[in-house]
């Protein structure tokens, strides 16, 4: 139970970091191409990524009976 809780935290932090960086990168692309190198698309993108990561973490912690398993395909 404690191990699962720790794994959830690891997954949550990794996922939030990935989404924030992805949002930042997409925001930079949009800012350079479409919005004349302004700051607000970068802020919006990183904020969206952070929010998506937070929402995923919330969903993961609020579903204690959902076990994250892996499917092994028969070769």
């Amino acid at each position: 139970m404690a191990d699962e809780h720790g794994r959830k935290w690891d997954r949550c932090l990794a996922d939030t970091a990935v989404k924030t960086v992805t949002g930042l990168a997409v925001g930079v692309v949009f800012s350079v191409l479409l919005f004349k190198r302004r700051t607000w698309p970068v802020s919006l993108g990183s904020g969206l990524g952070l929010g998506m990561g937070y929402a995923n973490c919330q969903h993961d912690f609020r579903s204690p009976y959902l076990v994250h398993g892996r499917m092994v395909k028969d070769q």
């Binding site: 690891d10 996922d15 997409v26 479409l34």
Partner: protein
């Protein structure tokens, strides 16, 4: 007034040249009109093409981010991070070889440090200190009182 070999003055020569040029333009008016129309259409289409190209590139970046699972569930995000961790050192080595920096930069020493282990040990130390604090405080207080009693004897 100076005159050339034909007997024309400079101002008269300019006047004749201008008249001939104007006549040439009016004689070729239809060709001039078509060329001007083509250039005008190209000038109107070019900003649209530029905007379409920018939208395609930006939309493509967003599609790649969504398709590679970076904006999906938490498992996909953590898997993407593991793949990136595994792919970055070989990519850095390739780029260093490409630019010829391999001999210049020293190799990174492998540090045996885990931030997770450090954090966990710090939390354990703190909690154990807090749990032993009342007992230890009582013991130190008793020792101080005993020392003061011995001094007053």
């Amino acid at each position: 007034m100076r005159r050339d070999q034909t007997g024309l003055s400079f101002s008269r020569a300019i006047q004749i040249a201008f008249t001939q040029a104007y006549s040439w333009r009016t004689w070729n008016n239809s060709t001039l009109k078509e060329t001007t129309l083509q250039w005008t259409m190209a000038a109107r289409i070019l900003p649209v093409v530029k905007l379409a190209t920018k939208l395609t590139i930006a939309g493509g970046a967003l599609y790649v981010a969504c398709d590679s699972g970076l904006l999906g569930s938490s498992e996909q995000g953590s898997e993407a991070l593991e793949k990136a961790k595994a792919a970055i050192p070989p990519a850095i080595e390739e780029w260093m070889k490409y630019f010829g920096l391999e001999a210049q930069l020293p190799t990174m020493p492998k540090v045996e440090f885990s931030p997770v282990q450090a954090w966990n040990s710090g939390v354990r130390q703190t909690i154990s200190t807090l749990s032993e604090a009342p007992t230890k405080a009582t013991g130190y207080t008793n020792q101080c009182l005993q020392y003061l009693k011995d001094l007053t004897k």
